[in-house]
């Protein structure tokens, strides 16, 4: 079967609704044909990844400007990933001038198309939250994995610039995870840990699952207790970064997996993998690319920290000061930071030596200017990208361990 367009869609392709919509439809049709879609379907929101000069480069900025110049406008709510530099004070963050110029050009272009400037990788906390079964077209690998897994909304891993086309047209190719039969489990993961997972074990499990699954759909059985959404955010982000995981089923936790049978549907498990406590410790050891205990920077908030996570750091720090030789940065979106400010804990944390980096993150903003050699984080996604995008060796631990390292100036055994 090949792609069939409706009369309205063909009219767009013929340019009857203007240059921008024609351009968007031409790209969407090519991508739909390549992915084997038979039709386009309506989607109700989009989340974009042409957001930071660090990952868009000149070509991305030029592309966004070209699309804006055509007079393009989004026809469905369209949010966007983190800003490419500290949104409050890029100079204080040592952002190179030329980088800032390009970031501001990119911002202007996407704003002209009508983006909702949430500047966050977690738009589902408070800005853009699809319901169960809703078709959306999102980029940002961690957010795609979260909304498919935790909310049961339906999106493929959309792609930079195609996401803009989806936003302009309000449509996406009907393939992959939009179809119920493609959402069933393929690999069974038996988790042999007879207690609720510790906070660091969620990203470690995600990191291991990403490597193991690639783009296959895993069904995790045996999770005890009741993970909070922040745990699921860490799990999904790590699995999506170390592999291509776009959907996980966690039996008894996620909405499409009330039971093991429901998670697999008509599928037979192609593979069964057992993961125990020792496997998670082994994964943790692999995630530590740095073998010493010294730390230059503790970086939390990949994906963006929620207000709950900021409150947790405030509690763990318990009035102590950050070691003068360690930078301690928290990345969060403007809403979480505003809430921390209202609560008075932003000031207390800043007085203790913590820096808030607003609306951006360590991976997609310039950080090499600081000369950090060793970064510690509680994020499996950050561990994956850090060596390439921050130029640092990585240390991984739970949030509590990160806080202790920040206070002591080195990893505390």
């Amino acid at each position: 079967m090949s792609l069939k367009l409706t009369a309205d869609e063909r009219a767009i392709l013929e340019g009857k609704e203007g240059e921008a919509r024609k351009f968007a439809m031409e790209i969407l049709v090519k991508v739909a044909e390549g992915s084997g879609a038979e039709r386009l379907i309506p989607i109700s929101s989009v989340h974009l990844v042409l957001h930071a000069y660090k990952s868009a480069f000149d070509a991305g900025v030029i592309a966004a400007e070209k699309i804006a110049d055509m007079g393009a406008r989004f026809s469905v709510p369209t949010t966007i990933d983190p800003y490419g530099m500290d949104a409050e004070d890029w100079r204080a963050a040592k952002t190179p001038e030329q980088y800032a110029v390009m970031q501001e050009r990119l911002e202007k272009a996407v704003m002209r198309i009508g983006v909702i400037p949430v500047w966050t990788c977690t738009p589902y906390y408070g800005f853009n939250m699809p319901r169960f079964g809703e078709n959306v077209a999102w980029s940002e690998s961690s957010a795609v994995a979260f909304v498919n897994t935790v909310l049961g909304a339906r999106t493929n891993r959309q792609s930079a610039i195609v996401d803009i086309c989806c936003g302009i047209l309000g449509k996406a190719p009907e393939v992959g995870l939009h179809l119920a039969e493609n959402r069933r489990g393929e690999v069974l993961i038996k988790l042999n840990v007879d207690r609720p997972l510790k906070d660091w074990e969620f990203p470690a499990l995600g990191f291991r699952l990403g490597r193991l699954l690639g783009n296959r759909i895993g069904v995790v059985d045996g999770v005890k207790g009741s993970p909070v959404t922040e745990n699921m955010k860490s799990l999904c982000a790590a699995a999506a970064a170390s592999g291509s995981v776009a959907l996980l089923h966690v039996v008894g936790v996620t909405p499409e997996a009330p039971t093991l049978e429901a998670a697999f549907g008509a599928n037979e498990s192609k593979q069964v993998v057992e993961i125990g406590e020792q496997d998670l410790l082994d994964t943790r050891a692999q995630m530590n690319t740095h073998k010493g205990r010294d730390v230059d920077v503790v970086a939390l908030g990949c994906p963006h920290y929620t207000i709950n996570e900021i409150v947790n750091v405030h509690r763990l720090l318990a009035g102590r000061k950050v070691h003068p030789d360690v930078a301690f940065w928290i990345y969060a979106n403007s809403a979480a930071i505003a809430m921390a400010e209202k609560m008075g804990i932003r000031k207390e944390l800043e007085d203790a030596g913590v820096t808030f980096r607003a609306g951006t993150c360590m991976i997609i903003s310039p950080i090499r200017e600081w000369g950090f050699k060793v970064m510690m984080t509680d994020s499996g996604k950050c561990v994956h990208y850090g060596p390439m995008e921050c130029g640092t060796e990585m240390l991984f631990g739970g949030t509590g361990e990160c806080v202790e390292a920040a206070v002591a100036g080195h990893v505390v055994a």
Binding site: I27, S35, G60, A63
Partner: protein, 143 residues
């Protein structure tokens, strides 16, 4: 020499070149420096290899959804591979090929769905001819 049949998921003119082959999934963001074509992914078996002007072969795409923008920058800087072949294509890499044509009129053909595991039959250093119209790759000479 051997000819393998697949499908052109991104079209383009016939190209010949040296193959750069990996058995690991690959993602372009955090994967390659688009200003040089050198692989920067420390976790990857192609680390420090240069993909510029090569026929890049790997099993499937992975990782960040911003990968298409990196491919577009590779097209702009002239450091893109000549063609990409994989067992299974995905939307992010395919988009990169579509955008390279759209914005820079660059052919970056991509072939997938071979009848065999393409990463096992082609070796790094093999000289191959990719014919997108026929959906074939031919090994012209082996190292």
């Amino acid at each position: 020499m051997s000819v393998y049949k697949g499908r052109a998921v991104v079209e383009g003119a016939i190209v010949e070149g040296e193959a750069l082959v990996s058995s690991m999934p690959f993602g372009f963001f955090g994967g390659v420096n688009p200003g040089t074509g050198v692989v920067i992914d420390r976790w990857h078996d192609l680390f420090e290899q240069n993909m510029k002007g090569k026929i890049l072969v790997y099993p499937e795409g992975r990782g960040s959804t911003v990968g298409a923008a990196i491919i577009l920058e590779l097209a702009r800087t002239g450091c893109a591979p000549k063609a990409i072949m994989f067992n299974a294509s995905e939307i992010i890499t395919v988009t990169g090929g579509v955008l390279a044509k759209k914005f820079y009129d660059l052919d970056l053909p991509m072939l997938d769905r071979f009848e065999c595991d393409i990463t096992r039959v082609i070796k790094t250093g093999d000289v191959v001819r990719v014919d997108p119209a026929e959906g074939t790759v031919e090994i012209l000479s082996s190292k």
